[in-house]
């Protein structure tokens, strides 16, 4: 059994990182959130523009994502910044604290001045950082790992090299008792029948077909052709001709294991094995959903080269072709282009990705972490009110 050294949390989950984060609950506080993080080196800001002037479905999704982010196993401590009126900072923090998470909310109620909030926040974060540095790791095994599967900036090689290798790795993780989450509903369109057949029962199969159908209908409702956004101009330059072709390559990341469960955006899996999460094909929003759903590490294949990461989760980049690895190695962790050159097989690269996951879980940094790529965005459903 493959093991790693991780950080055990009070709710029983295990983290592969030990981050201290500061996170705002309304967009007005995004600037102060970043300012506060700058005052305490080592603290990661998770700033965004959601949380206000949104429809209920968006607000609910925002809160779920923020809670999943702050209560993530990779997070040692989280500080919420809120207005104290018209936002849910204190409520979210107390719910997370009740689950055993080390969280706190600071708001502007009781006539607090900006300088007071910054001072109070700085003190709390310094203490949290000290506490985090004294935390010890313990041995855990792959059955406790949840791995997110993502692709971005795909090219014609994605479905031939990197994605099938990720699929091989996903099957190994599932074989060893772990969990993998395939995402990006847009990129299941045209290939949904293949995944539906792998569903563990008819309920899961119907659920899966329903989210894909809903997505297609929503696209039709805009009166637009999905092809104007997907495949993207870069996908086409990379040799992809249709969304169906992109989808058939995209789902290869899911390997051949049975589909156990279908999750909403930012929802935590209840089953082990291979599951699917309803996320958009928009990488940063999709990765934020996977992370909020509890994935400790995300695998991300890229053909054109995408540098994006996550504030809380290590993102492992798998390059699809040798040229990309040659010119953009600073953003690539595993070169699946070796398959084209006849140097490695899909199974060998799958094993290499698995080894990279374990090294990353043990603390080695990914390319996105080295470059401080900490992009964060929450999937938006409706217009800002």
């Amino acid at each position: 059994m493959k093991t790693f050294k991780g950080y055990r949390r009070p709710n029983g989950t295990i983290g592969v990182r030990n981050h201290v984060i500061v996170i705002n609950t309304v967009g007005e506080l995004a600037g102060l959130t970043k300012k506060l993080a700058q005052l305490v080196p080592g603290v990661i800001p998770v700033a965004h523009q959601a949380g206000k002037a949104q429809y209920p479905e968006d607000l609910e999704q925002t809160v779920r994502t923020l809670k999943g982010t702050a209560g993530h196993p990779n997070v040692s401590a989280a500080l919420f910044l809120g207005m104290g009126q018209g936002d849910r900072a204190e409520e979210i923090a107390s719910e997370l604290a009740a689950e055993g998470h080390y969280v706190h909310a600071i708001t502007f109620k009781d006539k607090k001045a900006i300088s007071d909030v910054l001072k109070e926040g700085k003190l709390w974060l310094e203490k949290a950082l000290e506490r985090c540095r004294s935390q010890q790791t313990e041995t855990a095994d792959v059955t406790e790992l949840i791995i997110g599967l993502e692709c971005g900036g795909s090219d014609a090689w994605s479905g031939i090299t990197a994605n099938p290798s990720i699929g091989a790795c996903s099957d190994l993780i599932v074989r060893d008792g772990g969990t993998s989450i395939l995402a990006e509903t847009t990129e299941a369109i045209g290939a949904e029948h293949i995944l539906a057949k792998r569903a563990v029962n008819s309920k899961v199969s119907e659920q899966f077909l329903k989210i894909v159908k809903d997505y297609e209908e929503r696209i039709k409702d805009t009166g637009e052709d999905i092809r104007s956004a997907n495949p993207t101009p870069g996908n086409m330059a990379g040799g992809l001709t249709t969304l169906e072709e992109k989808s058939l390559g995209c789902i290869k990341k899911g390997g051949n294991s049975p589909l156990m469960e279908v999750l909403s955006y930012a929802e935590k899996p209840t089953e082990k094995g291979f599951v699917f999460m309803d996320t958009p094909g928009y990488d940063v929003e999709s990765v934020a959903g996977l992370a909020a759903g509890g994935a400790q590490i995300v695998l991300f294949s890229t053909g054109k080269g995408s540098p994006t990461g996550s504030p809380i989760v290590p993102v492992i980049k798998i390059g699809t072709n040798p040229k990309l690895y040659e010119i953009m190695s600073e953003h690539i962790d595993v070169n699946a282009g070796k398959i084209i050159e006849g140097i490695s097989t899909i199974d060998e690269v799958g094993q290499e990705i698995y080894d990279t996951i374990m090294q990353t879980a043990n603390g080695s940094f990914t390319a996105a972490e080295k470059h401080k790529n900490q992009e964060f965005a929450i999937w938006r459903l409706a217009e800002t009110i």
Binding site: N230, P307, H371, A382, E383, I385
Partner: protein, 374 residues
Amino acid sequence: MGLSFEGYVREDGSAGTRNHVGVVCSVVCSSVVAKDITEKVPGTVPFVHGNGCAQLGDDFKLTKNMLVGIASNPNLHSALIVGLGCETNQVSGLLESIPETKPVQGIGIQQMAGGTNTIDKGVGIVEQWAREAASEKRERVPVSSLTVGILTVDLDEASLQSAAPVIGGAVDILIENGATVMMGYSQTLEPAGKLLSERSDNASVKEKLLTASETLKRKRWKNINNPTSLGSGFSEEEKAFAELEAKMTGTSPIKSLLGYSQTPSEAGLHLITVPGNIVEALSNMASSGCNIAMVVSGRGVLTGSLALPCMTVVPENPNDPFEELVDYKVSAKEVQSQAEDLVASLIEICSGKQTNLEKMELGEFSIPHVGTTF
């Protein structure tokens, strides 16, 4: 001669109240690289956001138009567009749409073979521009070169009673001097549509205002083409409140009701659609050409815009305001002389005096969504 301020004159005849070198990302995937560039060069400002890919129809057009608008804003001396390469919102498309009235260039991470090269290249470009911008001098320009955005945030009735006539007086003075004023047409002002419609000669503006005054409508996930109503129409209380807020527009005719990122075609008073998200509202005003904004609030707002100086105006008896943010406090003095004072303070800021938000370096940029991402 009428009122004037010290501004940066642009090639197209407009004038900036600031002289920023903007670094604009086309998509969230290039936001970190764009920000890294600005951190290496003083005088440069990052315009980063979470949009730019997997968007369709109106939602995509809005993202593109907002970025074109920001790059074109008179407060920007120049703009570097930083893209990834494979995104929906292509750098080439942005460059085609941005008018060639200032230095504008585009670079992409995939084209430059990685973030490090892109940062090096970008730093080289903006260092040169930042030197040029620093050597430029302010010149005296008429107030007709100003486009002033007005945004209201969290005002109660007493605050409005105190502040609205003064703001309205200031708006009239600005418009008499040839300025353009854009009043934020938010959900608190929408119920006053009927009253405002009487101030427009334009039939389609009248109709839009009348329709908007019935009930609050926005686009939703499942009814993307048919904006749905929130609630069952505006109450009498909301209408009375909105009519009080409408006093802030002064007495000039209303020339147009601008949608997101639309620019006015003539000087005078306009209404501009703004969302309830403050950062998005101010960013929208900036992309529509405002070179300064007045934020009227009972408390003061904890964020400004990266493109515009945002002047914080609070009423006479504000509700626990953030004192360190207040640039102008309405008093019990006679309305007309206060309106003149307010315009004088605004002009000082336009001429270079920092707002309190600027001193605290609190400013953001963000683009509203009008639909879901795919």
